[in-house]
């Protein structure tokens, strides 16, 4: 049977702590594996922080579902269109003096999510993120996520 939880947030910095506590409680209640829970926690924070701090959103709706051995997170916000799947990302590189830090948050998301999908629904952005709980291959699937637009 699937387990699910939902949370509605104002799109503000202060609400990010509540968002984190909400997911931590879900992960604990359903005994999610430690590494998977940590990665989903990171993705959720990065995506929610992007919306709350950089977009024009006023509201964020979150849903987490645990079913068929995977965690599915859905994030809906009322900001202007923004597709985190195709946004440019980059790790740090080069010497410390030159290191720049743009796009790092979404880089972390792309590297830890198994599937990341985006669609615009009316006045809302909808992002869906899947993290499988079993073993996975090294080529996890940012690529798969990039093609999963529906």
């Amino acid at each position: 049977m699937a387990a699910a939880a939902t949370l509605k947030l104002a799109a503000t910095r202060d609400e990010l702590t509540r968002c984190d506590a909400w997911f931590q409680a879900f992960a604990a209640a359903h005994a999610l594996p430690e590494r998977a829970a940590a990665e989903v926690r990171l993705c959720l924070h990065e995506l929610a922080a992007n919306i709350a701090l950089h977009g024009s959103a006023t509201r964020i709706c979150l849903r987490v579902v645990l079913e068929r051995g995977q965690v599915v997170i859905t994030i809906i916000d009322d900001s202007t269109p923004f597709d985190p799947v195709v946004a440019s990302t980059a790790p740090l590189s080069g010497p410390l003096e030159d290191a720049a830090i743009g796009g790092l948050g979404l880089h972390l998301v792309h590297r830890t999510a198994d599937v990341l999908a985006y669609r615009r629904r009316g006045d809302w952005n909808e992002v869906r993120l899947i993290r499988r709980l079993g073993q996975r291959t090294a080529e996890a699937s940012v690529r798969e996520g990039r093609s999963a637009g529906n």
Partner: protein
């Protein structure tokens, strides 16, 4: 001259990183060597990484050095994926990091 030891909050994320960055930059103002001890840190996001990078750059700009230690597995993974593992001086324990800074 002694090293400055910085201890980030339990969650170093978008909510707490701006405060950590400001406090850290103030604390290292008179120092050329600093250690960030992560042993009590449960979570680091990209905003936290940004604060760490600012501290590292400030020290480097005045010929100083930064070491970090005590990364829990989830934090170490974020450092690895982000590329921070390649540009920071990372040690398992505070003693090892301090020894490296004093060399």
């Amino acid at each position: 001259m002694s090293e400055i030891v910085l201890t980030p909050p339990y969650r170093l994320d978008s909510a707490t990183a701006p405060g950590f960055e400001a406090t850290s930059l103030a604390n290292i103002a008179g120092s050329e060597r600093a250690l960030i001890d992560f042993s009590a840190v449960d979570f680091v996001s990209s905003a936290g990484l940004r604060g760490i990078l600012m501290v590292a750059k400030r020290l480097r700009s005045k010929g100083g050095r930064l070491a970090v230690c005590g990364l829990r597995p989830a934090v170490a993974e974020v450092f690895a994926i982000s590329g921070f593992s390649a540009i920071l001086d990372i040690h398992p324990t505070r003693d090892q990091a301090l020894a490296a800074l004093r060399q």
